[in-house]
């Protein structure tokens, strides 16, 4: 099966400086790939390049379409849902309005998909009329994922969903992400600091250091690699 997302020799830039130096990454249809690496390695920048938020060179293919040189809005319209670093919550809008925005590209009545999201995240249903800014960090992360899924995307891009959250909440969130991946048939590209958890869930992993892919392979192979275990898994 052809990958749903494929990056070929992609470079990405912040202003004039090149941060990502020609990397190849692929996400299989229905699969989950994870980008691992230290802070500042270029993981977030790679995700931003996919969604047209930073300047990039090279080829980014999504379901047969070139994403490079498209605007962020167009890329969202094609079915790439990006939960950005910091969650991108619209803090002044209600929970329900945040979800409605997620469904913006699809038009029509969002009620049915909204109910499905409340099924995955019952806490959001309880808080649907509250300002999103009043939610806890974990709830905001759930809201961000639900907002992205309202788009009915083919690819879900998650930038460090565990950031700043208590370990138990992180596990809850990943359990739901895994369930969603199967039920919604959505492929996932994940950036994550929590390598242990990420390698358990993902089928493919890329290790990024200072803008280069230094190791890649099946998540299991990477998890068993002694050097990676020592540097990233800590045992």
């Amino acid at each position: 099966m052809a990958p749903i997302l494929q990056l070929r020799a992609v470079k990405a830039f912040y202003g004039q400086s090149e941060v990502v130096h020609g990397i190849d990454v692929a996400v299989e249809e229905g699969g989950m790939a994870v980008l691992l690496g230290a802070n500042g390695a270029g993981k977030t920048t790679t995700l931003r390049a996919i969604c047209g938020m930073v300047r990039s060179e090279g080829e980014i293919l999504f379901a047969g379409e070139r994403l490079d040189r498209r605007t962020t809005e167009e890329i969202a319209g094609l079915g790439v849902a990006h939960v950005p670093e910091g969650r991108g919550t619209f803090i002044g809008l209600t929970v329900e309005e945040n979800l409605r925005l997620g469904g913006y590209t699809r038009g029509g009545r969002p009620q049915a998909s909204m109910q499905r999201m409340y099924g995955y995240f019952p806490i959001l249903a309880d808080r649907r009329r509250q300002q999103a800014g009043a939610l806890s960090g974990g709830e905001q992360q759930m809201l961000a994922i639900a907002r992205a899924l309202m788009m009915a995307p083919r690819l879900l891009v998650l930038d460090e969903p565990s950031f700043g959250l208590a370990p138990r909440i992180v596990e809850d969130i990943f359990t739901i992400v895994e369930r969603i991946r199967q039920e919604e048939r959505v492929s996932v590209l994940l950036v994550e600091q929590n390598a242990t958890l990420a390698l358990e869930l993902a089928d493919h992993a890329y290790l990024i250091e200072t803008g280069y892919v230094v190791a890649s392979g099946s998540a299991k192979a990477l998890a068993d690699d002694p050097q990676i275990r020592r540097s990233y898994l800590g045992y």
Partner: protein, 289 residues
Amino acid sequence: MHQLLQQIFSGLAAGAIYASLALALVMIYRATDLVNFAQGEMAMFSTYIAWTLVNAGLPFWGAFIITLLASFLGGMAIERVVIRPVENAPVLAAVVVTIGLALIFNSLAGWIYSYTVQDFQSPFPDRPLFGALITTRDLGVIGVTLVMLFLLFAFFRFTATGLAMRAAAQNPASARLCGVRVGRMLAIGWGLAAAIGAAAGIMVAPVLFLDPNMMGGVLVYAFAGALLGGITSPVGAVIGGLIVGVTENLVGTYLIASQLKLTVAFALIILVLVFRPNGLFGTAILRRV
């Protein structure tokens, strides 16, 4: 007592106009972090368009609606042509651009229509109502403003485009990720602000008479209203505008010579900035990280 109520109602009619213009200012401020000093002159120019149409024989409400539509398109065009190039420039540069716009509209109106003061007929007859508590004209002005504000709030509250505009103003990067075309939303915001301003101009012209400097004072009152309400709050802008209208009228009647009324607006602006910079309803920018 009767006179007091009279002054309050006539203050509300003036306040409704300040409220509209204040709302236009707030909309642009929220969307682009920019105080539009040209808001008053844009409204004045729109009013001349309405005046031209009425003189050409159109019925008043026909001219009103055409002017609002034309102003909407004009506001969008201004955003595209003049504001977008300075979108990422320092805020002072953008402010200077809006001041330049104000001068352009003022001179353009003077050149096309001359600086002679013109009479602009109100669509509402000037009859006293309820034992001369309020005139039909004041009531008409308040009514038109309320209908317009109601439609606007409904638009922002219930339509997908309205929601997308709020999202684009709040968090443009995240709005783009949701597929919202942020640039277009900003243009629509400018269009709406221009249309609201046009309505305010048309409503105030019969009282102030039409000339290119008509909106100068009104804009100051609108600023006072917007600041009082908290420059980020649309509801605050409306309430602030109404409070300014009533205060100005009462102070001008009972406390100081009416020639000094504009001072009230400046005094309010200074008081708000010193003692309550976020106004009555504004919020300091807070965010959870």
